[in-house]
Amino acid sequence: MSNRLQVDIVACDGYGACAEVLPEMIRVDEWGYPILTSDIVPPVLTRHARRAVTLCPKRALSLAPAADRGTGGRPTKAASRGRA
C-alpha cells in the first residue's frame, strides 16, 4: 500500500530539511515552508520519505497509509471551512 505525506503546518518552523531530502515531492515557498507537489508517496521514494520524516526537527512531517486520512491533515476540516 502506498503512503500519504502530511505536513502539520502549525508545528512546522520552516527548517527545510524535508525539501532537501525529498525534493521530488517537496519544495519550499519564499519563506522556507514546505509545499507538497504531490502527497502520495510512490514506492520508489518511500525510503527517502521516511528519512525526511525522521529529519524534521519539529516532527511536523508524517507518513500515513494513503487510505487513512487521519486527524493530522487538512482533509478532516474540509467539510467545515466556515467560521461556524
Binding site: 502549525v10 471551512r81 467560521r83
Partner: protein
C-alpha cells in the same frame, strides 16, 4: 401561538415590540420548549434542511448526527454557541443575542440533548457589552425552571482577534487553551479533545423554532436546498444600514429596497465579509442570494454580510486597508499565513499607493502560494478578498500605477475597521 409565516421569524418579537424579549415575552410568543428526545430533534432538523449560518452552510442535521455518533464513542460531547462575531461588518449575532437571547439558548439546549452534551458554552465577542444581558437571561431561566434538565449553560467572552471565532479556535478556548485554530475538526476533537458541536448563534435560534413548528414549516420560505430565512447585515452606501431578516434566495436588490435604497450609486458589492469577495454590481444585484447559486461563481454569503461600495470610493484602497488589518489578525501559527498575509497586504499597498509595477505579478504569485496552506481558512479568506478585488477593480489598477492613487483614494472608508489590537492582546 403565532408562527410568522412568510415574515420575520427570529426578529419578529423585536420588530413588533421594539424591546428585547425577556423569558415571559419569549414564552408567550413561542410557547414551551419541546420535551422530545434527542433523536427526534435530530430527525426534525435533518428534515428541515437547516444549514449552518456561520459561513460554511453545512447541513446542521448532519453535524448533529456526526457529533452524536462521535460522542457515543468518546463518552462525552460539548456544545459551543458561536456568538463571537469578530467580523467588523457583521452585527446579526450581537443583535440576536440582545433581542432574542432565549431563542438562541433554547436552540443550544435542544442541540445539547440531540448530541448528548451536558454542557453548553456561549461565546461572546469580548467587550461587545453582551455579557451581563446573557448572564441575566441564564439566571432568569434557572429561576423559572425553564429549559431542558441536565444541560448546564455558561457564558464567556472570547478574545477579540479575528481568527478566534473560527470553530476549532473557539473550542480550544472553551477547553482552557488559547483561541487559536487547530488542524483537527471540532466535531472530532473539540473542547478538551471531546467531540464538540460548534455552531453559529443564528443556527441555534432557527433550531429552536424548527423543534417547535416542524420541518415543513421551516421549509415554507427559502430555497429547496437552503430553506428558511437568514439574517443579513447590510452596510455601506445605504439609507438604513442594519440587520434584515429575509428568505434565503431573495436578491440583494430586495434587501436594498427594504433598507431605503442607496445613498449614492454603487459600483460593487462585498459579499460574505472580510474573507468574502467583491462582485460587480451588475453580476449580483438581482441574483438569488442562496449558497447553492453563489457557489457556482465561487462566492458565498458567509455570515450574511453585504456592503455596498459607492462609486466615489476606491475598491483597491478599501481592500488594501482591510487586508492589512486581516494580516495582523492571523494566529501566528502557520508560516505560510503569518509570512504570506502581511506580504500580500504589502503588495496591495505598493500596487495602489506606491506605483510599484512589480507588485502586480508578485501578489498573484503569493496568493497562489499561500491559499489552502493554513490550519484554518484565514489565508484562503485573505486571498479570496484580495484576488476578487484585483479582478473586480482591474480597470482601476493602471490609474493607481500611473498616479499612485485615484479620485477615491482620499474618501472616508466604507468598510469599517476596529482599532488595531495591541501585540499583547490576550489569546485566552
Amino acid at each position: 401561538m403565532s408562527r410568522h409565516d412568510g415574515g420575520p421569524r427570529l426578529l419578529a418579537g423585536w420588530l413588533e415590540t421594539d424591546a428585547p424579549a425577556g423569558l415571559a415575552a419569549h414564552a408567550g410568543r413561542y410557547g414551551e420548549l419541546p420535551t422530545n428526545p434527542g433523536s427526534w430533534i435530530t430527525r426534525t432538523v435533518i428534515d428541515s434542511g437547516l444549514c449552518g449560518r456561520g459561513g460554511a452552510w453545512v447541513l446542521t442535521g448532519s453535524k448533529l448526527t456526526t457529533v452524536a455518533a462521535n460522542a457515543a464513542k468518546a463518552g462525552a460531547a460539548y456544545v459551543v454557541v458561536n456568538g463571537a462575531e469578530s467580523e467588523p461588518a457583521a452585527a446579526k449575532d450581537k443583535l440576536l443575542l440582545r433581542v432574542a437571547p432565549h431563542l438562541v439558548l433554547d436552540g443550544a439546549e435542544l442541540a445539547a440533548v440531540a448530541v448528548g452534551a451536558r454542557r453548553v458554552t456561549l461565546c461572546l465577542h469580548r467587550g461587545a457589552g453582551l455579557l451581563d444581558g446573557l448572564r441575566g437571561a441564564i439566571a432568569e431561566r434557572a429561576a423559572a425552571g425553564w429549559g431542558r434538565a441536565g444541560v448546564r449553560l455558561t457564558v464567556v467572552e472570547s478574545p477579540r482577534w479575528y481568527v478566534c471565532s473560527e470553530s476549532t479556535a473557539l473550542a480550544r478556548f472553551v477547553g482552557g487553551g488559547p483561541a487559536k485554530p487547530r488542524m483537527v475538526a471540532a466535531y472530532l476533537q473539540g473542547v478538551r479533545d471531546k467531540p464538540t458541536l460548534v455552531s453559529n448563534t443564528e443556527t441555534f435560534a432557527h433550531l429552536a423554532l424548527i423543534a417547535r413548528y416542524g420541518a415543513e414549516w421551516f421549509r415554507r420560505v427559502g430555497t429547496a436546498r437552503t430553506p428558511g430565512t437568514w439574517l443579513v447585515t447590510l452596510s455601506g452606501a445605504v439609507s438604513r444600514p442594519g440587520v434584515y431578516e429575509v428568505p434565503v434566495g431573495g436578491s440583494a436588490a430586495d434587501i436594498l429596497r427594504r433598507a431605503g435604497g442607496p445613498t449614492e450609486p454603487w459600483q460593487a458589492l462585498l459579499m460574505g465579509g472580510y474573507c468574502g469577495s467583491w462582485r460587480r454590481l451588475g453580476e449580483v444585484l438581482d441574483c438569488p442570494l442562496a449558497p447553492e447559486v453563489l457557489q457556482e461563481s465561487r462566492a458565498s454569503l458567509g455570515t450574511g454580510i453585504l456592503v455596498g461600495l459607492p462609486e466615489s470610493a476606491c475598491g483597491l484602497v478599501e481592500t488594501a486597508r482591510v487586508v492589512s488589518w486581516l494580516a495582523a489578525q492571523n494566529a501566528r501559527q502557520c508560516g505560510p499565513c503569518f509570512n504570506g498575509t502581511p506580504a500580500i497586504a504589502d503588495d496591495l499597498t505598493r500596487l495602489t499607493r506606491d506605483r510599484d509595477r512589480l507588485a502586480w505579478g508578485r501578489v498573484q504569485r503569493r496568493m497562489e502560494m499561500v491559499a489552502g496552506r493554513g490550519a484554518c481558512s484565514h489565508p484562503d479568506g485573505v486571498v479570496r478578498l484580495a484576488s476578487s478585488a484585483l479582478d473586480t477593480f482591474a480597470d482601476d489598477i493602471p490609474t493607481h500605477l500611473a498616479h499612485g492613487g485615484c479620485s477615491g483614494s482620499d474618501q472616508p472608508p466604507t468598510l469599517p475597521l476596529p482599532a488595531s489590537l495591541p501585540a499583547d492582546e490576550p489569546w485566552r
